[in-house]
Amino acid sequence: MKSILIIDDASTVRLYHRSLLEEAGFAVDEAINGIEGVEKALSKTYDLFVVDVNMPKMDGYAFLREIRKRKEIHQAPAVMVSTEAEEKDRQRAFAAGANFYLVKPTKPNELLEVAALMTGGHA
């Protein structure tokens, strides 16, 4: 089963993404900020990170830079999800180490297809 780590401080968004992804057969873990995200990524191998931008303590950009620095973390693809649709926001995400960018609210099919493509299949 492919496992995905959702890093988002909004519990509703986590629930939404989690239910979508779990329904599609992914194993999903959650972290409520970047720090918790890094801790989880250190303790387990994930196939995909779904990363929110604005979070307390450590935001999504800092999280991405942090995991990309760390050799002991499996360098899974990262999708940044953000409410901003502007080009500069995409660029910031990619500069920080994201591999793809989706605009919130994510469309169910889009998220699932991206998750399937970036993890190499479902479940």
Partner: protein
């Protein structure tokens, strides 16, 4: 996890718990039919619940258990140890599956084998003859699309036109939904589903079997099927019907299929022939807009009831909606032949519309798409494009490896799905080369080759995740809050950790709890109406039996209400840490401002009390802490001179003592000098000369709580703002608290607060005065006495009486409350005197008479009434009247 699934898991735990209790009860008492029924119902519910989710393994095991229990219920099988063991083991297994679902949202495949074994063993326990009964339900037959589109003709033309317009010339989704006859028993609501159908346009309903005479209709069986049109994608529609996929067929219908001409036939129709000739040339030129105009022109001239007009309306609408030429050609042809556009024509048109139909299969099943290359999967192309452009972005050296690995993993996954093993192999070689040369260059070339040339295949590059190819973005500095250390010391951190640990905790908005609390409060009060009723039943209606029954019922309701009260109180309990966590910062800041050194020790933060109490504690405690810092603790120099450590120490300690919570604030400062206090109090006129001589040191210290007392020689910035300890004492007493102060000169001060754990219900004594009732809180009441008129004396213009050897001043309730009539004595010439203890003094209030005591929910006076002194608040009584509750302290101070 979806709320639905969460609910399922919570329910499952509950049901399994009930089942194991029932099974154990049955083992002791095998014949108990009530328990057997309960057990069967539980397992039945569990099976029904599991059907909502895609966990067939789970459902099958539960189903087998249900079949077994069914036989037990029908007495074809009796409960014995073997059966109980088997069922208990199965339930453990089910429990494990629930845990699995809870943890991961699915049941792993490796559970299947054990499930099969379990089912086998459960089946073995079934009576022989019934073995064949246990054939599992085959999935219901999948509903197929209908053979013809005849049903569309039953939709009124106006609705078909609307649907055509809504389609924008693209294919519509058609739905055939055949609800199961038993659907109503499964909680399905076909009409609601239809009403909420996304993009719903038109629909028709038809009976499956002809309806029988009204009297014979079985209204609990569904006997109809629905045909509907929608602009939503098939995927959206399948999702809408996700709980009954087998009952629904979704298929595409081209808009031409809606163009069924209805109306009068006119054999000789010159205008139609003109239009047909015109239409042919327009369609040849592809001038759809002009075709709409032409159709509109003819429509203006002919009767709208004609069949020709009907078809022209469709041509016009579809042309306006921008339909493609082949679609319009089919309609024009249908107009010429006078026939309904046949399915063949429709299919031909549908083919040209194929692209407009969103992919039906759920996204994760993209494996089948495109055997090699990226195919037409635009998201895949977007992802590869993004990786390609990531290679052009600057990357900090310490993140270079991570970037390459992440891009590599992204592409590896994607190609595994889209490209196959060959493509992955090629990628591996390139990735290895990049790592070796520490350059993205070869990967960039590789991706260029992989991507389709030109932008044709990318639907909308501006909306994709793509970057302009040559953008160079400097790494944007982002503030990291990670390092910002918690300056508040260890206590709040510990508190936060404490909060995080609790796994199965409900987070409920405060308003909900408050509302429940209010309702329970009302319930507690409303139940008090029953004794009134009982009295009425006896005295007015003369039914003593009824009165007794009401009283018995009252006792039951009273007990439940009290339990409810206790329950909600538990819910409202907050740990002291929620106020304590403000202190470290406060103490640190104040100490710094005063140039003092202090260590704050917090203890017993986990002690709990009602939210209202805890929240009301914040300000008084802060005030006490400020006083300690300001007046109690000495400067480091003074401490050194006194032979104490430079760093002062303040301890705040909370603990629970019975039904009260005790909070102590202790400092090791200079303490309170009784001599200073006495002098101050005398100067301010708080005590007179004789008292000055006689007052003990401990009594003198309590004078700091006297109104208007301030010990500070100069009014300091911090604590001396005219708000003294009297305010602290008052606000604590308002919530039923008490304050005790002890101090030893040179050694420190200790303030002990005791507070009730909760405040919800107050016990009040009702007194009568001038035909009204007033409440007096029981905690101030000493006794109620009858004082003969001649034992009331007047000394210095004040009434007093000697009660139990002590002189007690008496006040008339009429004076205190400014009521018009003086208290009335009873027939024996005795006055009713309520003796209360206020601020250590015993005083009496003369009233007309006493009534009973009662529990009330005290609400503070609000609005214009809030300014009234002398009232603790109002309360609603069981008979619906409002009781004003007196604040004896305020009343007596005013006297």
């Amino acid at each position: 996890m979806s709320p639905l699934l969460q609910q399922f898991i919570t329910d499952s735990h509950d049901i399994l718990e009930r089942m194991s209790q029932a099974l154990l009860a049955l083992e002791k008492n095998p014949g108990d039919e009530g328990v057997i029924d309960e057990l069967f119902r539980a397992v039945h519910t569990l099976k029904g619940n599991s059907g909502l989710f895609d966990i067939p393994t789970f459902t099958r095991v539960v189903h087998a258990a249900e079949d077994l229990l069914d036989k037990v219920r029908d007495k074809e099988l009796s409960i014995d140890n073997d059966l109980t063991d088997e069922l208990l083991e199965s339930m453990d297994f089910i429990q494990r599956m629930v845990d699995m679902v809870e943890a991961s949202g699915a049941i792993p495949d490796d559970f299947t084998d054990e499930a099969d074994a379990r089912i086998e063993r459960l089946r073995a326990l079934l009576p022989e003859s019934d073995g064949h009964d246990l054939v599992f339900e085959e999935p219901a037959d999948q509903v197929q699309p209908p053979d013809t589109l005849d049903w569309i003709a039953r939709i009124p033309e106006a609705e078909r036109l609307d649907a055509c317009l809504a389609s924008g010339g693209h294919a519509l989704s058609a739905i055939r939904y055949v609800p199961e006859p038993e659907c109503f028993f499964k909680g399905e609501d076909p009409l609601l589903l239809l009403r909420n159908l996304p993009g719903r346009q038109a629909f028709v309903i038809s009976p499956i079997e002809p309806y029988s005479a009204q009297a014979e209709i079985d209204v609990y069986r569904s006997n109809f099927e629905l045909q509907a049109l929608s602009t939503a994608s098939p995927a959206e529609i399948r999702d809408h019907f996700r709980y009954m996929p087998e009952q629904v067929a979704v298929y595409a219908v081209p808009p031409t299929a809606l163009a069924i001409a209805v109306g009068e036939d006119l054999s000789d129709d010159g205008l139609r022939d003109d239009f047909l000739a015109n239409a042919e040339t327009l369609l040849a030129k592809g001038d759809v807009a002009l075709l709409a105009v032409a159709a509109g022109a003819v429509l203006d001239l002919i009767s709208p009831d004609l069949k020709t007009a009907s078809m022209l309306r469709f041509i016009r609408q579809l042309a306006l909606a921008g339909a493609e030429v082949p679609v319009l050609s089919a309609l024009v042809k249908a107009l010429a032949t006078g026939e309904v556009p046949s399915l063949d024509i429709a299919d031909a048109a549908a083919e040209s519309l194929q692209d407009a139909v969103p992919p039906a299969a759920p996204a994760p099943r993209v494996k089948s798409a495109g055997a090699s290359g990226l195919g037409r999967n635009t998201l895949a192309v977007q992802i590869v494009t993004t990786q390609r452009q990531l290679l052009d972005l600057p990357v900090p050296p310490d993140q270079w490896d991570g970037r390459l690995l992440a891009i590599g993993n992204t592409l590896r996954s994607l190609l595994a799905v889209q490209g196959g093993s060959e493509a992955v192999g090629a990628l591996e070689a390139v990735l290895a080369n990049c790592a070796e040369e520490r350059s993205f260059l070869s990967l960039a070339f590789h991706l260029e080759a992989l991507l389709p040339s030109g932008d044709d295949d990318i639907e909308d590059p501006s909306d994709s995740g793509a970057l302009p190819a040559s953008v160079a973005v400097a790494a944007v500095p982002v503030r990291s809050d990670a390092a910002s250390a918690d300056t508040l010391g260890d206590a709040p951190k510990a508190a936060a950790e404490h909060g995080d640990k609790s796994a199965r905790v409900l987070k409920v908005p405060q308003e909900k709890v408050d509302r429940l609390m209010d309702l329970i409060g009302e319930m507690v009060v409303a139940k008090n109406a029953l004794p009134y009723l009982a009295t009425k039943a006896e005295e007015v209606y003369g039914s003593r039996d009824l009165a007794r029954e009401i009283k018995a019922q009252f006792a039951v309701i009273n007990r439940i209400a009290e339990d409810m009260q206790d329950g909600i109180m538990q819910v409202r309990m907050l740990p002291m840490s929620s106020v304590f966590q403000r202190f470290p910062r406060l103490v640190r800041d104040v100490a710094r401002q005063l140039g003092k050194r202090v260590r704050l020790v917090l203890e017993g933060e986990e002690a709990e009390a009602d939210k209202h109490i805890v929240e009301s504690l914040g300000d008084p405690l802060i005030h006490i802490l400020r006083n300690s810092l300001d007046h109690g603790l000495e400067t480091p120099e003074a401490r050194r001179a006194a032979g104490k450590p430079e760093e002062g120490r303040i301890t705040v300690r909370a603990s629970q003592e019975g039904d009260r919570v005790l909070i102590e604030i202790e400092d090791d400062g200079k303490g309170i000098d009784p001599a200073v206090i006495k002098r101050k109090a005398f100067e301010k006129g708080l005590i007179d000369e004789t008292r000055l001589e006689s007052i003990s040191d401990q009594e003198a210290i309590q004078l700091v709580f006297a109104p208007g007392f301030s010990t500070a020689e100069t009014v300091s910035n911090l604590s001396g703002r005219g708000v003294g300890m009297d305010v602290v004492k008052n606000s604590l007493e308002k919530i039923g608290g008490q304050v005790r102060l002890t101090s030893e000169k040179g050694r420190g001060t200790r303030i002990a607060l005791t507070l009730p754990l909760s405040v919800a219900v107050s016990n009040v004594l009702m007194v009568k005065m001038n035909g009204q009732r007033f409440g007096v809180p029981m905690d101030v009441v000493v006794e109620t006495v009858r004082v003969p008129r001649d034992e009331i004396h007047v000394i210095k213009g004040r009434r007093v009486s000697v009660l139990r050897g002590k002189i007690v001043p008496l006040f008339g309730a009429d004076e205190l409350l400014s009521l018009p009539e003086a208290p009335i004595a009873n027939a024996e010439g005795e006055y009713a005197v309520l003796v209360v203890r206020v601020d250590g003094a015993t005083v009496g209030m003369i009233v007309d008479g006493f009534a009973q005591t009662t529990d009330v929910i005290l609400k503070p006076l609000e609005g214009p009434l809030s300014g009234l002194a002398g009232f603790a608040g109002s309360a609603l009584l069981g008979d619906g009247s409002v009781l004003l509750v007196l604040d004896m302290k305020e009343l007596m101070n005013g006297a």
